[in-house]
């Protein structure tokens, strides 16, 4: 194509076509988009909610009333709550320093430690149980030594605690690390220049400032420990925690007999979740 410029000819005015309106600007398109997004979100929420509500509606009332008569269920609930609490306390004890180090210090192998802490999250839980069995079983060096010292791991509440600790502690470490990272390290620096040694600065400044985050991390760990099944069932079938009891009743007696125990387990997990939400709401108000 070529253009010829005619001497004295007026250049043709350039006509600017209005650029096509982005589809988002069209109200009709926006309405359709809103409907699609709303529908998808509702369906997803329903997918999460329906089984839980159905379970609690079918077995919740029976579960609560059967607590007085069903001694096995009562004992199982207590065992679950106690072992989850012990596992959480142990997780806090061992996980807090690791979380602090990961949040604050640069050290050789930091990335490796972080990856190791995430490892239990990606291992299928029955596989985690088998791995624990290898290390803590009576035939292993550690398990044999513990057994000789009078501490039976497999088939005891200790095994339940170990399984819960293994699968849920990474959640605590991850959340605690976030909690520490949210507290600016300069608060500690100021405390140090004001006369505190490292431990005192941690205790007087970092710990109070990250307390909410650490509590939330512990709540998440507890809830995860309560709902654990795969690793526990390998390590300690008996005595039964609620998740194992539900499975046992389902395979032995069918769905109807399982519902009270299963519904109670859901309610038990809901308690820390509700507490966590309340905690976060409080945290948002403080900010």
């Amino acid at each position: 194509m070529s253009f010829t410029v005619q001497p004295g000819a007026e250049p043709a005015p350039i006509r600017l076509e209005p650029s096509p309106e982005p589809w988002r600007a069209n109200p009709a398109h926006r309405a359709v988009l809103a409907i699609v997004v709303g529908l998808l979100s509702s369906l997803f929420l329903l997918f999460i909610l329906a089984p839980v509500v159905g379970l609690v509606a079918s077995g919740g009332a029976r579960g609560v009333t059967s607590l007085t008569a069903d001694q096995e269920l009562r004992a199982s609930l207590a065992l679950t709550a106690i072992t989850a609490t012990v596992a959480t306390m142990l997780g806090m004890l061992g996980g807090t320093p690791i979380a602090y180090l990961l949040a604050r210090r640069a050290f050789p192998g930091r990335a490796l430690v972080a990856a190791l802490m995430d490892l239990p999250l990606v291992i299928p839980h029955p596989v985690a149980g088998i791995a624990l069995l290898l290390v803590l079983g009576r035939g292993s060096t550690v398990g044999g030594a513990l057994y000789a010292a009078g501490l039976r791991v497999v088939g005891s509440p200790v095994g339940i605690v170990c399984a819960m600790l293994f699968v849920s502690a990474p959640l605590y470490v991850s959340a605690a690390r976030e909690a520490f990272a949210r507290v600016d390290a300069r608060y500690e620096s100021v405390a140090r220049t004001l006369g505190d040694d490292a431990w005192r600065a941690f205790r007087r400044v970092t710990l109070p400032l990250s307390a909410r985050g650490l509590t939330a991390a512990a709540v998440v760990m507890w809830a995860r420990a309560v709902s654990e099944f795969g690793a526990i069932v390998i390590l300690t079938y008996n005595p039964k925690v609620v998740s194992v009891l539900s499975y046992d009743r389902f395979t032995s007696y069918g769905l109807s007999e399982t519902l009270p125990a299963a519904a109670l387990l859901v309610l038990l997990a809901l308690i820390p979740l509700a507490a966590l939400r309340a905690l976060r709401a409080g945290e948002a108000r403080v900010r």
Binding site: S189, V190, A191, R192, T193, G195, V205, P208, L209, V286
Partner: protein, 357 residues
């Protein structure tokens, strides 16, 4: 005394390279430098918060390089206060205080005693900063490190905080090292100025000296010198006609002809012939309608291209053969000389006002 000898340190992206300087006992040092030059890292290294990789940190004559922060008898105030949010104002001030009496005394001086029971979250930015200064001083430190503590304050609070700090400084004579990017503040406060750039000390000495004789064109530019020219310096034997008016000290230096792309002017300096920079502060440039018969050796006719009123002084830019020369003149001079954009004018400066670097 604060003394650093070849200190190398690293905090994240920031590094210090062979930092060496000394702020004598009871003196007020100022650290100047652009953002990212490592000013805060420097203070944190002195505080012991950032570990020293190599070199020595001396405080009060003692080598405290590997002594933890809590045993360095110093206080630090950050730009963002870092008050402990879970404590009240009183609890913050008393946190590391030498005594409750000391905390009460500084609280009163900085007028934060009225805020004592309030939670930190309820304080304004200025109030927070005053509390942070009081908290650091309540410990009665021998060395006070200040990281731009006044930058976020309103003018009235800034004047008040400076006055109170200065009064306490004269009273107790602790050693201060303050980071600032405001050279006016540095000149006002400091006995020693340390210019930092990319983790290195690029110049140190008396603040006025640093201000008048920057070691490089970069420093001159950073310190706000409007007239920085790149060119060639050439020592000359013949003296200009009015050379005799130069001061006695100036005679110790060689007369130099400095040539830019468009101008040649006279200077005094002990320079190696070759490429150099000439710095002339705007305050040293005078304007007149006709060439003046005075000690001013360099006079150039040009046209005014801009007049920027700035407080008591106006910045007048004169275009001389394509080279802008900025003069700082009083509003009265602007009126009396009838300075307007487009007017022809003579810009002049003494050879002694030219700093070569």
């Amino acid at each position: 005394m604060i003394g650093l000898q070849l200190v190398n340190a690293r905090a994240g992206e920031f590094r210090l390279h062979d930092v060496t300087f000394e702020v004598p006992q009871g003196s007020y040092g100022v650290v100047i430098g652009p953002a990212g030059s490592g000013k805060t890292t420097l203070l944190e290294t002195i505080a012991g918060v950032v570990p020293v990789v190599s070199g020595k940190v001396m405080l009060g004559g003692e080598d405290l390089t590997h002594v933890p922060p809590e045993r360095r008898r110093l206080g630090i105030v950050y730009q963002h206060a870092y008050l402990f949010p879970h404590l009240t104002v009183r609890e913050n001030v008393e946190y590391g205080a030498a005594s409750k009496l000391a905390a009460g005394d500084v609280s009163e001086r900085f007028e934060v005693d009225a805020l004592a029971g309030r939670p930190v979250a309820s304080l304004s930015g200025g109030e927070r900063q005053l509390v942070a200064i009081a908290r650091a001083l309540a410990r009665r430190p021998e060395v006070l490190l200040l990281d731009e503590p006044f930058s976020a304050l309103d003018p009235r609070t800034r004047t008040f905080a400076r006055r109170q700090l200065r009064a306490l400084y004269y009273e107790r004579r602790f050693t201060v090292l303050q980071v600032t990017h405001d050279f006016g503040e540095a000149g006002l406060l400091g006995d020693v100025a340390i210019m930092l750039d990319r983790g290195k000390v690029v110049q140190k000495g008396d603040p006025q000296e640093v201000f008048r004789k920057p070691a490089s064109a970069y420093i001159a530019d950073f310190l706000g010198a409007e007239n920085v020219f790149a060119g060639t310096a050439r020592p000359i034997r013949a003296e200009p006609p009015d050379w005799g008016h130069a001061s006695d000290s100036a005679f110790a230096q060689l007369p130099v002809a400095f040539t830019t792309d468009t101008l040649t002017f006279y200077a005094l300096g002990d320079v190696v012939p070759g490429p150099a920079h000439a710095v002339i502060r705007a305050e040293e440039v005078s304007l007149s309608a006709e060439p003046a018969m005075s000690s001013v050796q360099n006079q150039f006719r040009g046209r005014i291209v801009e007049i920027l009123p700035n407080g008591a002084l106006s910045r007048v830019t004169v275009d001389v053969s394509g080279t802008p020369i900025v003069a700082a003149v009083t509003a009265r001079s602007v009126r009396e000389l009838g300075l307007v954009v487009g007017k022809e004018i003579v810009a002049g400066f003494k050879a002694t006002a030219v700093h070569l670097c």
